[in-house]
Amino acid sequence: MIGAPGKARVRLGEVVVLNRVLAYLCKMLGKLTGWDDTIVALATPPGIGAIGLIRVSGPKTFGIVGGLFPAKDLREQPSHTLHVGLLKEGEETLDEVVVSLFRGPRSYTGEDVIEISCHGSPYILERVMQALLHAGARLARAGEFTQRAFLNGRLDLTQAEAVADVIAANTAASARTALHTMRGGFSRELRDLRERLISFSALIELELDFSQEDVEFADRKQLYHLISEAEQMTSALLASFRLGNVIRNGVSVAIVGKPNAGKSTLLNTLLNENRAIVSEIAGTTRDTIEEVLNIDGVLFRLIDTAGIRHHTSDVIEQIGVGRSLEKMDQADIVVYLFDVADPIAGVAAVREELVAKGKPFLLVGNKVDTAEGAAARGRFPGELLISARDGHSIDVLKQRLVDQVLQGAGAGDGTIVTNARHYHALQLIQLSLSAIRKGLDELLPGDLLALDIRHCLHYLGEITGEITTEDRLDYIFSKFCIGK
């Protein structure tokens, strides 16, 4: 979209981006206020840990922290240095701490920042925080450090969003994908694609603007090849969105099965607590119950459901059943629990039904701890058999759940799209890619082909944050001998 001498990095796409930025800022940060004040927050999770980190940012940072740190005059110390000393409020020693000094703009937020590493006791941390607040700092609102970093130009939009994701990330897997984006894995792949597309678009522009001269033409076959490759890449990224979303928001697992198959017991075993009411009377669970479980860094939302029975006269239970069928449809993974004493044919029918639903599922036989169960083991070769009551093979079940999730991610280290804005842009990229391919098929003239390529570049730029045409002209001038 789309230039000229100089390097205008913002272009058409930024319009859309900017609107979203504003919406995003408002959503993430609440009402904007001035940032002349100095903010403080605990940077490590609350609770007992070896070390607690408190971060202070703002123009008065060095004055506020320095006032509590009598060992040295921090204002005299160079940036990016560490200092050990006692933190004191008046005569009272709060803790022995390490302070890390970062002077703006070379800091996370772009302002003066000091990070105080204290001992991890909640009491000490609380005392230090109080002292800092007394000295004139203000408690930071959620995301306010990132807001400052962003407004001070220390983070680009993708990075800021990734930081927001990290903050929101409850689990290790989620943090991994968020960190991947932050380090630029996601943008790198797209940037690479964008660059290759730019060189092509440069060739096509060359063909257009210098058609009267002795220049080579853009090889349509190569472009076709590039487009196919790009299409594969975007579909993979688009497909990863569901998984990415799942990782961020948790994988919902519906535990279903006939009444009294032991669903609630399984839930309790998985959670190690008595969350659901367990009884011997079939149909005890009348409502769905949701619990959150972290297995190997993947967040699962477990949904216990009322047992599925085909005929029930109890009205309350009927409602419960309807809800569980609905939950089953909404879940990402279905765990179907059957009683190992159940008839083989019935279980086979259930399997067929689940396959037909096309949803990832685990078929799990329960109650191997009972006498009947022990006897029935051999009837289900290949099925996962557990005991919800005594925890037999529960670890295997957990592992299978994690495997189910990561299957979709390929190697597990691949780029996963978690961001709705990126997802939307990727959809538009895919549309423009197919328009380019269609244009190539129909032997569309170069300028119209270029229009679709410009669109594609524009949407890519919405993600990577770079939209310019000057680089296209630079490419032309560096590569080709043109001009009369």
Partner: protein
């Protein structure tokens, strides 16, 4: 001796002539001051107008009521519509002109324009009072007063010409350079810098062997540039193509040690896309040959312009190298090629109206703003002339948007990004290339100019007529259905699938390879319906129907972009308050003072985050 003028135009090249004509036609009393009345509207470089992106500009100038299109049509010796095989946005008119006839026609048209006075003298300085330009002082010592001044100095300000080791002052070969204005403006705080451009040797056409070259003929059907009826030539002259070779390159290299380019005597930056031949063989050593275009200079002269052989090497090296070009074995040189360095004022010092930010009522247009090309100069002259007039009447300036005209793209690029090499227009610089076509400049711009009082009644009426005709044809195409039988033969000859039931003509037109002209010829019933419409209208309707999808796509983007373009930044906005801006962005914003967030976003060195920050601040 001199009356009080409304507008004084300094310089009578393409920019100056358009500026004088526009201001005068709007009703200003104009004085055109030139150093030489014999060289009004000189084509200093090649004798051609238009070309890709440039042809679109000439049509825009014409649609706005400028003269360049008419002059080009009247003086052309060859016409070609370039890029016919591509989409309609790429179709670009180009004319080869009779150099002398071109200049004579311009002078004649200016002389016939009421309100234009002429004076031959050099302007040495401007009269500036209270930060406002109000006249000029000439070399002969006259002070002439006006309400506004337009400077179109081309390559003349402190111009220095280089041929090999020879170096002398001049604005064009055999013409004096102009002095004084740069020094005065710099003392007033203007920034100035040096640019370089060059030109190839002119040779004796009688000494060439054309049998060794490829002929390049003009189009059979001359479309021309003007939307008015201008008589077109009944015959045309051909151009010729030949190539350099490694022997030519080797000879040229023997002169490198005396080349002003490589010995550091030239400081100015030259255009990358208009490189000298020595630059081409130096930077692209792997190329075994370079194309040369042999362009006749007019109807009644044997002089030939060797396009593609721009050089400032010593004359004897130019001569020896040319002799090795096929067809040039006996060549005789009329005038050697040379390079010229000149002053320009980085255009970020201008407003969108082309008025300088530092001094009110002072306007710059053309090469003085760092551009290259007749078309680029002419369109700036036109806009500066219009806006100088507007300013003297306290009226709003005419500012074209990037989505409205190449002229809008050009001026916005100059003002927002500046330029460090001579700026030339390319279609790839326009975001909205599909909208900015050569066939619709009248529909885009004429009404705007008419409302201002520049485009004539006749021009406006023709535009309305065209628009109505096009609408009627489009309606017809949507209601008129083709029968399978009557269209069978036609579709077969076009390798297109026969119709199985009747289908609307507009629908059939969307098929690849189908065009309205051949369709209405092959299907008499349709031909009968459209026969009253001009080819111009038919073509316009066809383009609008056939490329509707693409045109709509671009309009969507225009809409999106308009959001940023419509966010005005107050003139007195205090950027220093925004401490979070990057240092580079802060400096640029303070210097350029963008009018809108859209413009701010296009400034070089400005990051998306700078614009976001600005937006957040403005929202508060």
């Amino acid at each position: 001796m001199f009356p009080q003028y409304d507008v004084i135009v300094v310089g009578a090249g393409h920019a100056g002539c358009e500026a004088a004509a526009a201001a005068a036609n709007l009703g200003s009393k104009v004085l055109l001051v030139t150093m030489n009345m014999q060289t009004i509207a000189q084509m200093s470089c090649n004798p051609a107008m238009g070309g890709i992106a440039k042809g679109q500009i000439v049509r825009e100038i014409d649609a706005l009521g400028g003269y360049s299109g008419i002059v080009t049509d009247k003086s052309m010796i060859q016409f070609r519509m370039l890029n016919r095989s591509k989409g309609p946005a790429m179709w670009s008119p180009r004319a080869q002109n009779d150099r002398m006839l071109f200049a004579a026609t311009w002078r004649e048209m200016l002389e016939q324009t009421p309100n234009v006075d002429f004076y031959q003298d050099m302007v040495n300085s401007l009269v500036i009072q209270d930060g406002k330009a109000c006249g000029v002082v000439t070399g002969l010592g006259h002070t002439i007063h006006a309400k506004a001044v337009v400077v179109t100095s081309g390559t003349f300000l402190n111009g220095v010409i280089h041929i090999g080791e020879k170096r002398f002052g001049g604005g064009r070969v055999a013409e004096k350079a102009a002095t004084g204005i740069t020094e005065q403006l710099v003392s007033l705080g203007f920034e100035s810098d040096r640019l370089k451009t060059g030109t190839p040797p002119r040779i004796d056409g009688r000494s060439l062997d054309y049998t060794k070259m490829e002929e390049q003929k003009g189009d059979e059907d001359i479309i021309g540039f003007s939307y008015l009826d201008v008589p077109k030539p009944t015959r045309q002259k051909s151009c010729w193509i030949t190539y350099t070779n490694s022997t030519v390159h080797d000879i040229l290299k023997t002169g490198f040690d005396r080349s002003p380019m490589y010995t550091g005597r030239i400081e100015g930056v030259g255009p990358r896309y208009c490189p000298s031949i020595e630059d081409k063989i130096n930077r692209f050593a792997e190329r075994e040959r370079h194309q040369l275009f042999i362009e006749p200079e007019g109807w009644n002269t044997v002089e030939i312009y060797v396009n593609g052989f721009s050089t400032s090497l010593p004359e004897e090296v130019q001569y020896a190298a040319l002799r090795q070009v096929p067809g040039f074995e006996q060549v005789r040189i009329f005038r050697p090629g040379y390079a010229i360095e000149y002053d320009y004022f980085p255009p970020t010092q201008l407003r969108h109206s082309l008025e300088t930010k530092a001094i009110d009522n002072l306007f710059f247009a053309g090469q003085v703003n760092g551009t290259t090309g007749y078309e680029e100069a002419a369109c700036q002259g036109l806009m500066a002339g219009i806006n100088a007039h507007q300013k003297t009447r306290q009226l709003e300036p005419l500012i074209l948007k990037r989505s409205e005209a190449y002229i809008g793209v050009l001026i916005d690029d100059l003002i927002s990004k500046g330029t460090e090499e001579p700026y030339r227009m390319f279609t790839s610089r326009a975001e909205f290339r599909t909208l900015l076509r050569q066939d619709n400049a009248d529909l885009r711009l004429t009404e705007m100019s008419y409302r201002l009082g520049l485009a004539s009644q006749e021009r406006m009426e023709r535009t309305i007529q065209k628009k109505n005709g096009v609408d009627e044809i489009k309606n017809l195409l949507q209601s008129f259905s083709l029968e399978p039988e009557e269209s069978l033969d036609y579709l077969v000859t076009k390798n297109s699938a026969p119709l199985t039931q009747k289908q609307r003509a507009g629908q059939v037109l969307l098929r690849p390879g189908i065009d309205l002209q051949s369709m209405s010829k092959a299907i008499p019933r349709l031909g009968e319906e459209v026969k009253t419409y001009s080819p111009d209208m038919l073509e316009q309707a066809e383009i609008q129907v056939k490329y509707d999808v693409y045109i709509e796509k671009e309009k969507d983007l225009v809409q999106k972009m308009a959001q940023l373009e419509d966010l005005l930044i107050p003139d007195n906005f205090n950027y220093d308050r925004v401490s979070s801006l990057s240092n580079e962005a802060l400096q640029k914003f303070k210097k350029i003072k963008p009018r809108t967030l859209g413009q701010a976003s296009r400034i070089s060195g400005v990051n998306p985050s700078d614009v976001q920050i600005l937006m957040v601040f403005m929202g508060r």
